[in-house]
Symmetry: C2
Subunit: 245 residues, 2 copies
DNA sequence: TCACACATCTGGTCTATACCAATGAGGTGA
DNA sequence: TCACCTCATTGGTATAGACCAGATGTGTGA
């Protein structure tokens, strides 16, 4: 719902920003979801690129538009509703929201876990894990980069499986593992380095980091996911009336 | 833990940003948590204010520093760990983290709920609620602006109570109400209008909106909070092994 | 027909300068 | 002693112009 309350905005920041907002809302701007070039926009609104970019950044932070590194500005679609407590796989979750998801495997290797990960997974520093990096799209748009760290002892032969599909299903079907308790953490951060590169956004773009530690039905720690979301693409929702799915 | 994984950053953005990062880390910069003026910093690093501000914005998004509208840049403290499922009151929650909280009442009036709020509270559009606006500080810093919408029929005389204290305690002690189910939603947004003004941040600063609908032990809807957080001040954490406190 | 090199456009970054408005410190007067 | 006013400083915003590097499209040559 993105509760609009209390946003009457005394000082509308700038006419420019509002002009663009209106033009966006009424479809006068985006052609096929992509905005005209910054130079063209600056000219059209009679301002300089710097000022124009200031206004676009505001709209970006507000989740109305987003940037693809060196490609341009695009109009954001509605947010994907995401509940980190759900054990539904990504495909099904998006399907239930009438949206289409796809997953791309970036790499799957054995690697030493960073100290922070080892601590979360309650192992000694320097422990090796299967490190699976993937990225996901919703309706064609790249929205999240995920790094999984899996216990090597639990998932001995996982590299031989299809890792572009659902890990949830794999756990259940191949290893007869059901999810149990979950711990997760949500942090607003700046996307940099690999997450930024993989999501095709410029270094320093605002994003949401979700770290999750999954256990099985017996309480054994299975893995840890670190997700980096484009901030305008997601809305976290949790309802305690729903049982964990 | 703010998992540092995957942030090796191929291209370190700019020397400037890294210089400031290092100077911050080693205490060469912030005097009493406030950075020198932008003009002084620009001169010190041999650059212009615009470029300097770009770098500062990156650090701001990364949660290292924050801005107070027209006052300057300040060094961020550690994030407050926040679990929207806890029913602990704010005071106790902060105390458990060795931090000190304070709450200021901004207003408490009867007001028509915005459509989005009425929908969440499952009432007809145009329904009146008690609207309580408050802001909270942690260790002296303004970190969150909260707007409560309370059922007028449940809390008939709440305006006569002390509204700068804990509503949780008030519910329990005055109305013998215990919390039951909760629904909440977390959205990364730009802070504008009243939330921005009350938090003393400039219009368009990045923030976290948390909308929460509380029910009592019988399932009756009690109220709805809309919280606007300074993004660098909070880390959301949920662990299903903890029972709801 | 297809792969590759090149020219062009676009965003990313930067310099230099300027004015406005809010803030806050200091001084003034009651 | 305290309220008020003044003014220097600071952040917020803007103009104008420039260069670089990645992305894209085009045309050439095999």
């Amino acid at each position: 719902m993105a509760a609009g309350s209390t946003n009457e905005t005394t000082k509308p920041s700038s006419k420019l920003e509002h002009g663009i907002r209106a033009d966006l809302a009424e479809g006068r701007l985006a052609v096929d979801r992509r905005l005209p070039s910054e130079r063209e926009l600056a000219e059209r609104y009679g301002t300089t690129r710097i000022t124009l970019r200031e206004a676009l950044s505001h709209l970006e932070m507000d989740g109305l538009i987003y940037r693809e590194n060196r490609k341009g500005w695009f109009v954001s679609d509605r947010r994907l509703v995401y509940n980190p407590l759900w054990r539904t796989d990504f495909q099904r979750m998006t399907r239930e929201q009438q949206r289409q998801a796809s997953t791309e495997l970036i790499e799957a290797v054995s690697a030493v876990g960073p100290d922070a990960i080892c601590e979360l997974l309650e192992t000694l520093p320097g422990t090796e894990f299967w490190r699976i990096r993937r990225r996901r799209r919703v309706d064609g748009r790249l929205v999240v980069f995920v790094e999984h760290h899996l216990s090597k002892s639990v998932f001995t032969d996982i590299l031989e499986q299809d890792l572009a599909g659902s890990l949830t299903s794999l756990y259940r079907e191949r290893y007869a593992i059901e999810y149990g308790d979950v711990f997760f953490e949500i942090n607003p951060i700046a996307l940099t380095g690999m997450p930024a590169a993989e999501l095709h956004c410029s270094d320093g773009t605002f994003g949401l980091q979700i770290v999750r530690v999954n256990r099985d039905q017996t309480g054994r720690i299975l893995d840890c996911d670190v997700e980096y979301w484009r901030h305008d693409a997601v809305s976290i929702r949790i309802d305690t009336r729903e049982s964990v799915r």
